[in-house]
Symmetry: C2
Subunit: 214 residues, 2 copies
């Protein structure tokens, strides 16, 4: 605690004052812009100038919201993890489809997303995995936590697939979920190179066939 | 041909003159250093300063050997492709082992290589795949050519596996070779994050089990 006294403020009632709202709005806009830039360029090449250019705020505003590029990267990575977990839920908890159909729907959606941005944007987490050895030292643990959250979701979906007989009862769903994401990140890179959804679809077809063969 | 006359010089006999030897030696040393730097940092973040620092030559020498970072990157990528194809041959053409044992031996060797450099170095091609959208426009075709060369080698090995009964006779070896490399690049990234050979070994165990199950 560094000997400092931590004062707990009671939450204020009503609308926050204008300055605070502006701060929050700019912070959110910077994170949104950061999501785009880092998904395209990775963290190491991402320039603050590119981030603020998208939303036309002065550079001073950036450093008012974030002490450093590292603090900004942490916030963007958290935002991406949460955004993606929410997206996964929207597919993997959809009980209108069978569990394996849900994963397939996610795969198709991800392909459409990549095509929409002309295969310039892949997976922000994948970009950072590639850069791991050069990233600030707090990032790897953050990446592991995010991957675990995604793995848990896929693992639960695979458990549901077991229960309804889509998967053999012997399947190790935790292990398969880890392998799913490992291969997925490779397929996303390949989709970028070939500017095509084929690598994603081929990967899923192989994975699905592999796990359903008894 | 731009209207230029192309003069074919006869190869000179004997040792090349000293200046030419020095040029060739520096060029080779720069490429070797570039292989290390780009395998660690990717292309976009790779600084010429870092490349020349490793071998202590003045910056002028770099630009004497290469017109630009792009020309250098092209040479390094070619060198990596050739180096890796040669390495693959040393494993996949080893007839002391069965075809699938040869691929497994390559996987173990790759893991040892990553561990040796404390998981800071992964696959140079993987780094560039991730960076594809931002690379000079000649790089994607070069990357595709290199991947095809690797795929052909794995495909031939899988054909041999079919012939000796390690794989079902129905296996589409070309398709499986593409999937092998797609998943491999994902596993290498994961090995970097977890600083462990486990992701490589798990990936291979899954792939091997999948392709051998009839």
């Amino acid at each position: 605690m560094n000997g400092e006294t931590v004062v707990q403020h009671k939450p204020r009632r009503g609308r926050p004052p204008k300055v605070e709202r502006e701060f929050t709005d700019i912070r959110k806009a910077l994170i949104r812009s950061g999501l785009e830039v880092i998904t395209e360029t990775g963290y190491l090449s991402a320039g603050i100038d590119a981030v603020i250019k998208n939303i036309a705020v002065p550079k001073g505003s950036f450093y008012h919201c974030f002490k450093s590029k590292q603090e900004f990267g942490t916030a963007v990575l958290n935002a991406y993890g949460a955004f993606f977990a929410h997206k996964l839920d929207s597919f993997l908890l959809n009980d209108q489809l069978t569990p394996l159909q849900r994963i397939e729907a996610f795969v198709r959606h991800a392909g459409q997303g990549m095509a929409k941005y002309d295969f310039r944007r892949g997976c922000l987490v994948g970009n950072l995995l590639q850069e791991t050895p050069l990233l600030p030292e707090t990032f790897p643990d953050q990446l592991k936590t995010i991957l675990e959250e995604w793995e848990t979701r896929v693992s639960h979906c695979l458990m549901a697939a077991k229960q309804c007989g889509e998967l053999p009862s012997t399947a190790d769903t935790g292990e398969l979920a880890r392998i799913f994401w490992s291969g997925w990140e490779g397929a996303v890179m390949r989709a970028k190179l070939f500017r095509s959804v084929e690598p994603l679809n081929q990967y899923w077809a192989f994975f699905r066939h592999s796990i359903t063969t008894k």
